[in-house]
């Protein structure tokens, strides 16, 4: 008798399920919540669940209010006045952690589950990935199951989940139609757009540590799908930002670069589509020289593209680039020549020496590369700190650095030698997904290189890092830095799986997140409806309403009519009985009630009298006296079956 459920107070019956639904809703957010909120939630729910088991006391209202005050205080410390999606999520989590303490009434339970729905909603504005989409369905499924549980006194969590699944399955067709047909608008209503918190990526300033920090980050920056073949690895320099200004220590993007007036033309165009993950900044990534600007963006004279607003949702753009070296027009190269008046004297001297031995810019470049190759430079992500003259210190003392150091030193040497040079930040290469024929570019592919201007060739790309660590360019960072740990079948298998998933989710996202005004219009116009006209709009509207009514109507028809019109067994048996008598020539007349009919039969066939009377007696009792005895129904049907008038 130890298993008597004494500990579950009636009102607490639903507590575990409500907490479960909230946990499911909150799970995808764990990475975005500060640690203390996660601990807070775990502690509250843990205490509640244990208190169910061990009859621990519950805090009273005053304590809960105190807790809420603490929680909000903590939020203020963590987020300050930055009211954003993360702060909102934090607030919801703190509420969701405390709310289950008070679920004594139906109202409290409903509100607790609504909180779970709210948390599901917040996840949507962060990501539109396939994973989150599938997870959303799971979360709605669980929360609705709990909702059914608290609204149906006889339900178990299992039956609640089952019904939740059925309702969801029945709702999905309607959802799909509404999703496709609901009119989309261009732009936004209030001009508001989401502000994701500072994500990793480039900043407008290139200083030591920027890139090495990124290299450890495996987040996807963008995916690029090429119309034809993917160009060779030596072409996959994804330009994002150009650093013109050097202050002696770090490089900056120049604000004075004018917008482009004439789009470049050239040979060997490459067309590709980029699915850029939101990064909260404005730059877009392209290969060498883009031939046009995507919507909502602007191109500058240094061939960088900037979005008009920070990229806060996934951005898709299709673009054509020219990869051939640019013979280019001469524009204001002054910003690419600027150097601080003082500092790094040794480097300036080195630049002078190198320039003295070179007849052309190309020769100078080769000599400088040769210098870097031969003087014992090492590629490392953990270089020693540099002093006030960082270029000197790097070139003549530490000789240890990564792309940033090499690019910085190289550009400095060029400028000191009087050759215009600039640093370009972006990504190098990317991983080819064999399932989807596209590249996945991650933060770890971050790279900086140099562009040097010569009168003969225009802007040329030079990658000084290549001189020191050629593998960095051909094989990616991980190969250069760590021993590739492969070989294991599991690792290979896992990699395959990851690629497969990425291919599926990318094509889903490309369709799903990209579905907006234009796509909708194209789709609807393919159906022969003109969206621009009033008639078209009315057609779409009536299509939506029609689908709703049709779905509901069909459902009502099939689900309700079928059982409602089903005749009961008594009636079926009685009709069988009448049919038997009809066969021997005594059909029941429509105005004959059962008793009249029995009398009539008894008169015509006295031999059948006892059987007929017994059957009619049973029928009358079942039909008119509302007897609900199932054994009696059985008996009646048996009698009818045994009845033989021949």
């Amino acid at each position: 008798m130890l298993r008597i459920e004494l500990s579950v107070r009636d009102q607490d019956k639903y507590l575990p399920h409500i907490i479960f639904a909230i946990i499911i809703a909150i799970l995808p957010h764990l990475g975005r919540l500060p640690l203390w909120i996660i601990i807070w939630c775990a502690a509250m729910w843990g205490y509640l669940l244990f208190s169910l088991r061990f009859q621990w006391p519950r805090p009273n209202r005053a304590v809960l209010i105190l807790f809420s005050v603490f929680g909000i205080f903590g939020l203020l410390i963590t987020y300050g006045m930055r009211i954003g999606p993360n702060a909102y999520l934090g607030l919801l989590s703190i509420m969701a952690a405390l709310k289950p303490f008070e679920i004594s009434t139906h109202r409290d339970r409903m509100i607790s589950l609504f909180l779970a729905y709210f948390i599901v909603i917040t996840s949507l504005f962060q990501s539109e990935s396939l994973f989150i989409t599938i997870y959303m369905f799971l979360s709605v499924f669980v929360t609705t199951g709990a909702l059914i549980l608290i609204n149906d006194t006889t339900a178990t969590f299992k039956s609640g989940l089952r019904l939740s699944g059925i309702i969801m399955a029945q709702a999905i067709p309607l959802m799909a139609v509404l999703f496709i047909l609901f009119p989309r608008i261009q732009g936004s209503i209030f001009g508001l757009s989401g502000m994701p918190d500072a994500t990793t990526g480039f900043s407008e300033r290139l200083s030591p540590g920027n890139i090495s920090r990124l290299v450890k980050n495996n987040d996807i920056v963008f995916r690029a799908e090429f119309e034809k073949n993917i160009p060779g690895a030596n072409h996959l320099y994804w330009r994002g930002i150009v650093f013109h200004e050097f202050d002696g220590r770090s490089w900056h993007r120049s604000n004075r670069i004018p917008g482009i007036r004439y789009f470049p033309t050239g040979q060997s165009p490459v067309t590709y589509t980029i699915a850029l993950e939101p990064h909260g900044k404005r730059w877009l990534f392209t290969l060498d020289r883009p031939a046009s600007t995507p919507k909502w963006s602007r191109m500058y004279m240094d061939y960088t593209l900037r979005h008009l607003r920070p990229v806060n949702r996934k951005k898709y753009y299709c673009i054509t680039s020219y990869l051939q070296p640019y013979k280019g027009r001469l524009w204001d190269i002054a910003p690419a020549q600027q150097l601080p008046a003082k500092g790094n004297p040794k480097s300036r001297k080195l630049a002078g020496d190198l320039a003295g031995n070179a007849d052309s810019v190309e020769q100078l470049i080769n000599q400088t590369i040769f210098y870097l190759k031969t003087n014992g430079f090492v590629y490392t992500l953990e270089p020693p700190l540099l002093n006030r003259n960082p270029i000197d210190d790097f070139l003549f003392r530490s000789k240890k650095g990564y792309c940033e150091h090499y690019a910085s030193a190289f550009a400095f040497l060029m400028r000191a030698a009087g050759v215009p040079a600039r640093i370009v930040g972006g990504y190098l290469g990317g991983e080819v997904n064999p399932f989807g024929n596209y590249l996945i570019v991650r933060q770890s592919d971050a790279h900086v290189w140099v562009e040097v201007w010569s009168e003969v060739s225009g802007w040329m790309r030079v990658d000084p890092t290549y001189a020191v660590a050629p593998k960095r360019i051909t094989g990616g960072t991980s190969e250069t830095l760590t021993k590739e740990f492969s070989g294991s079948l599991f690792v290979k298998w896992f990699k395959q799986l990851r690629f497969g998933w990425d291919a599926v989710s990318t094509s889903w996202e490309a369709w799903f997140s990209g579905y907006s005004y234009l796509e909708q219009r194209a789709l609807i116009e393919r159906l022969g409806i003109r969206m621009k006209s009033l008639k078209g709009l009315l057609t779409v509207f009536s299509l939506i309403c029609g689908t709703i009514f049709l779905t509901v109507g069909l459902y009502v028809f099939f689900q309700l009519r079928a059982p409602a019109t089903k005749k009961d067994r008594v009636q079926i048996c009685y009709e069988k009985f009448c049919k038997k008598l009809k066969k021997i020539g005594h059909p029941r007349l429509s105005n004959q009630g059962p008793v009249d009919f029995a009398g009539y039969i008894a008169q015509k066939r006295p031999d059948l009298k006892p059987d007929v009377y017994e059957i009619i007696r049973l029928y009358v009792q079942l039909r008119y006296q509302k007897s609900h005895d199932t054994s009696m129904v059985k008996h009646f049907c048996k009698q009818v079956k045994a009845f033989n008038p021949w």
Binding site: N151, M175, K626, T630
Partner: protein
């Protein structure tokens, strides 16, 4: 023909089947809150052009829409077969047995309540009649009409409530509230022999058996003879027959009429408990001395419905 308001309850006679035109449906407070949240989300989705937001809004909206059908279907076709209640004393809570049956499907969490009374939830299983105990508080003696019976459901997700209000012609006899006190009785043989108090019924002599009559006290049934397949007999005791008393309205001293009736009620109960034959005399009404449950009920009902004046 009297015109009826849309929401007005309908006078119905049992048994009744809840058909389409008897069922109303409306969002609950939570349903309205839910719809407001969906509206807010829809605006947010439009603003941010967030397709996943759209998807969730339409998923939840469609699920709410589907749930309406479930809610409605949960009531549709429910049969109310009978509504009856056993008598209670004034001030007690009457329990009505509402017998329901579902011909087609199981109906989860159906609420039953009389107007302004507590509700109860019950699941009506398919095919078999289910008896639901619905309570109604009583205040004063007489025939209590519990009023409209509301049958409602918020199944499955509590966002919508379907209901049907039925003005069922049912009532419960409410006995007067007994006021305890001594048992003043008039002798059944001669009414003029004056008052006397009876302390105990005493131990009586067994006299013989007679044919069972419905209403006989269960303690007096001769179970042994039933066991011998001789039928039901009731034991008779010597002094039961000789001693019959009258509970008389005129002999009760109390401030007012209601108190008198309450005192008489108490006396009837006491006399019944003592298993003596008793009669009831009210102004203009006389019940012959008798005993048993039926007689007790007749007496108490007479008291409940009495409109006697001094």
């Amino acid at each position: 023909m009297k015109k009826r308001f849309w929401f007005a309850p309908q006078d119905v006679s049992l048994p009744i089947r809840l058909t389409r035109n008897r069922i109303y449906i409306f969002p609950t407070v939570y349903g309205i809150l839910f719809l407001l949240v969906l509206l807010g989300m829809l605006i947010g989705s439009i603003n941010y052009n967030n397709n996943l937001g759209f998807l969730l809004v339409f998923l939840l909206g469609s699920m709410a829409l589907v749930s309406i059908i479930y809610t409605w279907r949960n009531l549709l076709g429910l049969n109310i077969l009978s509504v009856t209640a056993s008598p209670v004393f004034a001030g007690e809570t009457a329990v009505f047995d509402v017998v329901t049956r579902s011909d087609t499907l199981q109906r989860n969490s159906i609420g039953f309540a009389f107007k302004k009374e507590a509700h109860c939830f019950e699941t009506v299983f398919a095919k078999n009649p289910t008896t639901v105990k619905v309570t109604a508080k009583t205040k004063r003696r007489g025939l209590h009409l519990p009023g409209k019976l509301t049958i409602f459901t918020r199944f499955p997700i509590g966002l919508f409530r379907a209901w049907s209000k039925l003005n069922i012609e049912t009532s419960v006899v409410v006995y007067p509230k007994p006021i305890p006190g001594p048992l003043h009785l008039a002798d059944g043989v001669g009414t003029n022999s004056g008052k006397k108090e009876i302390q105990t019924a005493g131990v009586d002599d067994f006299k013989g058996l007679r044919q069972y009559r419905p209403g006989d006290a269960i303690q007096h049934i001769a179970w042994k003879s039933l066991g011998r397949c001789q039928g039901l007999f009731t034991k008779q005791f010597a002094n039961e027959i000789s001693r019959s008393v009258i509970v008389d309205y005129t002999m009760v001293r109390a401030d007012d009429k209601e108190k008198k009736i309450s005192r008489l009620t108490d006396m009837v109960i006491q006399a019944d408990r003592m298993k003596i034959a008793y009669g009831l005399k009210l102004p203009g009404k006389y019940l012959q001395p008798d005993k048993g449950h039926r007689h007790r009920h007749n007496c108490l009902k007479t008291l409940a419905l009495s409109d006697a004046e001094d």
